[in-house]
Point group: D2
Chain length 356, copies 4
């Protein structure tokens, strides 16, 4: 439906014309749209309107994108997107003149397995004014795998399908950290992948190789057209910290048929830290690991140490996270909400102490 | 969009043709549709399909209806409905042949303040078979006010608008009880109302007066047409227990300008219990109260006692619930999730012990 | 040992000579000693000493008394007493000049089953000065059974012996309430007893009959001599509220061989409330019940209502407490710490709201 | 008093004559006594007696020893010891014939600051039989500082005196781990010390230097006489894992006036791991750190890595523990119970997964 059918006061704004719009997540803003490539990527608006809608274009072949809406920091809605144009009402009938802070975001990770999967913010319908967005205290980038893609944070304990519905950023530890320390967070993550290889020992499925592009996981003509394959340029968003939560899949992958050695794994970690330092000269580089077991903790430890020694870079660290205990699992044998909360506690506390 | 555009295997079923469909909530099933009048009213289906959609017709003038979706008992989606026909995908890309249990329900209370507010289930799209729905151990009816309408269970602590978004059954104590004791629950509730009067001392705004109709709160021509005003017939769904969580608004209303006396209040309680006994000859009648203070606990206690003494009916009781503590509030100065969990613990434990 | 052997600076003070000594619990202060008849009875001192000892005389035949020590509100020590004189060091080597608040108390209920069981505070050894004790905001009397005697708050889940060790006030809900609302609390309780009869249907074993004496449960010549049998005089300690947590044993007793009828039970409740009103003209009378099931909640409800109606006394109420859930039991199939915490939350919140 | 004064059935057994006595903690058993040097050192007995006493000799000049008693795994009593002979009743009036498992232990760390501080178990009084003690699944040695000495696990939040009363093993994470994984645990810990130096930069105050003796922290003629200074012989108790929780004081010490360099710190860690490997050829060596901040986590990481690389020993690891959050502190600005519980969760889970 057209939002204006029911409320003649609503005015349409092309999203790229809205000055007071805070864009979350690594993206490539085009003339007419803002693509949301990664989970937790989205747009944030403060508004004194009584009603607000967002126009989103989406598509998919297999894995449909999901979105989530937060009002004043509280999760209000979560749903699947339909192919085509989605006019989504963010709120209605609210007190005009009172400022509401709205965060609309992609809940689903980037989907390398579906070239047609995409999600673009096109416009806003509002019957009020756009207001200044409060400042964030930190900028933090998170790089991860299924844990950072929130796999298992929705769904019943026994559910095992690998589908969009069971992934999220609305329920994952990164979104919790964002709230705890008032941080603008970005997520670069892909379920099943590692720093060196994927859970099934495929060496090409590693995060460092796709890191240098805006969204190296989004393929196909359409994603190419909206800028997924452009080189990543870190100049306009310098992270205060980069948190790398990788290793769980490498651990599985190493026991697979591949010829991954410990040396290669450690070298991959060292190399990735060097790459990240290139993009973020001043960021604290924090490797975290452990939410699904401590299998390769010694390798990570050794590699982070070696990186620090080789480069004389002291602005890096390695932290183990509490493993997921038996009653803390969500669906898909992945960490559930309790486990994510514990990880969020540890990382948020660490970052505040380290960054000051 | 039409679901079949993307999946040619989907077959459309008129909802009233689906034999294996469990209808939740007090309603009036028409030839072509199932109206969902009350929060937590909905339809439940077990299916081995890979994809399932629901066709829902909705409308409103002011207060838009919200829906929620649970898969295998876990909350997956929650969103606003649009005016007109809504084709909502309940799941996609799931393992064919594996049985999924799906519960689609109205998250918003009946809205007496908006004659146009309605929500009708029309049909299902499925590429699989409908399977038997597991049996429930209990049938429990809950009668209440804003607490039972889940007011405050969504939204940030400071949010104060009285809007659909902040009400729910997905996060309220009744839904939790349903899961804890495997009960088919029904809710008859209206924010601001009491057993005798509303929070603002309006005597007409009482639950007993509207109780005798399918949905005595849904007015206007359309709601009339779909059967809201039909007499309530309890013959096909005999509750094992009726839980009445009323009194909070009467307490406020008594201090208002009205001439509500304690005697009238207590009489109203006695009369309502008698009315309920008429509908449910064998149900345990449990009055509960206290989640927002204990102001009229003595009156309820006296009235329940008097009812039991007058009628020699020993199958009734009164239980106080833990008040909401300072860190347990949600939005709108109403009980939040923690408070609802405590109430659910107390009531579920009581019912299991009482009903056996 | 004599405390002064190791610290020559310690001076001995007869307890009845210490002006700044706050006596907790219903007792009869004699010339040379303060008997501690009830659990949580004790003496409280604020001191700037570096070392403090207490001299306690104790005896028993079967059930040895236990004591507990709190420093600045934190439980520090808990132990059995020996027959004869016990010189107990409350603290040592602490910063002289800094004020410590010390509460030494009886952890064991009054023991009607052992005429020799007693515990007397005789004196204090100190190398510093006695300081003013901060004021309490409320005075609350609790009357109860094994729950208020803390049965089950110590010991492993499977432990079933009925012995002193498993009873306490240090871990029970009453002590928790005292801390939550800064209340001076008194406990009158006896495991196994009720308002009307004991769990094994013995009508003589009821709390109201022994209530009129300083400690109607302490028998034998010695207890007689120290004043246990003196009439209770409420004139010097007027409670702001009396909380009666009785009924659990009456419920069991009613199903026993006795000829206890519901009428007699309810009359006993009414009569007890009248008796309490006699002692405390202005106290709020609060009956609580439910930590071990709701068996006679209707009888209590009816009786409290009848009391209020007969006497026109509106300063009374009845509150049900959350039942003990499966994972909340302590030893002896009694409420454990989690259950006591929940009861403390409910009662403390109620009292603060009611008393203001 | 003499236990036999009240119970003629009690028989005295010299502790070294009791065959079925499980000795906890690193000690030197003499002809007539078992010294308890370290916190959580003690003796464990299974008995079908109705009454059990323990004879303990103790002394001190400044820092009095404390003891704790557990019955069937539950903490029952905690108290100071008096100078001289202490006859302590462990239980009374219990069901004869039922087996009780009793653990009596030193709650206070070894006290290098008080040459007179000691605690010796001499004998047992029993009116029953000694029974077999159930087998433990693991043997774990913990090496630590004030955290492992339980500093802050008793006492009010504001309490700051450095005294015996505020230290424990009864409330610390090591005792919790023992219960969680059925482990016989030993503690070697000293508040304020590190692997390299103490919090105040004193290099002599390091754990490795005193590690080679039974209790290198207990000095003076008496402690010498009872064997504190004997070389530590690990042959009869081979740990499955050694958990080293050191670094917090080194971190503080490094910023002090001393000339401690990062190199020396890391070398000390490497050297200590080599020393531990000498004593325990097959034990998993686990360094843990972080409960009071992550200041030197990189140094520990580097050193553990270096140890592994130099020795080709892969049976070692480093784990960071959750830092203590604001509401998790106990007394003396040290981790409280909540923080200890979190550490216990992480370590217990790790050990079970690693040791199998």
């Amino acid at each position: 439906m057209n939002p204006q059918d029911r409320n003649k006061d609503l005015k349409y704004y092309k999203i790229t014309d809205v000055q007071k719009c805070y864009v979350h997540g690594r993206t490539n803003i085009n003339k007419d749209e803002i693509p949301l490539f990664w989970n937790n990527s989205g747009i944030e608006i403060c508004s004194d309107a009584s009603e607000l809608w967002i126009e989103v274009e989406a598509d998919y072949s297999v894995y449909e994108p999901w979105y989530a809406v937060e009002i004043n920091g509280a999760l209000i809605a979560r749903s699947m997107l339909m192919p085509g144009t989605n006019n989504i009402c963010l709120f209605r009938s609210m007190s005009k003149g009172v400022v509401k802070r709205v965060f609309f975001y992609r809940d689903l990770q980037a989907m390398g397995q579906d070239n047609d999967c995409h999600m673009l913010v096109k416009g806003i319908y509002s019957d009020g004014n756009f207001k200044d967005i409060p400042k964030y205290d930190y900028k933090i980038e998170f790089i991860g795998d299924s844990i950072s893609s929130g796999e298992g944070t929705y769904g019943a304990h026994e559910d095992m399908d690998w589908i969009s519905m069971y992934m999220s950023s609305s329920h994952n530890y990164i979104n919790m950290i964002s709230k705890k320390i008032n941080a603008d967070v970005r997520i670069i993550s892909q379920g099943g992948w590692g720093v060196c290889c994927s859970w099934d020992s495929v060496k090409e499925n590693n995060i460092p190789d796709i890191y240098d592009y805006v969204c190296g996981l989004a393929h196909g003509d359409f994603n190419e057209k909206i800028g997924a394959g452009k080189p990543f340029d870190s100049s306009d968003w310098q992270a205060d910290a980069v948190v790398i939560n990788l290793g769980t899949n490498d651990c599985t992958g190493m026991t697979g048929v591949g010829n991954l050695t410990e040396e290669k794994l450690e070298q991959a970690i060292v190399d990735f830290l060097k790459k990240l330092r290139g993009y973020y000269p001043n960021a604290h580089l924090l490797w975290v690991y452990g939410m699904l077991g401590y299998g390769i903790t010694s390798n990570i430890s050794r590699a982070v140490t070696r990186y620090m020694d080789e480069t004389k870079d002291t602005n890096a660290a390695y932290l183990t996270l509490p493993n997921t205990l038996e009653d803390e699992y969500g669906s898909r044998q992945h960490p559930g909400l309790k486990s994510h909360k514990k990880a969020a506690d540890v990382i948020a506390d660490y970052l505040v102490n380290r960054l000051g």
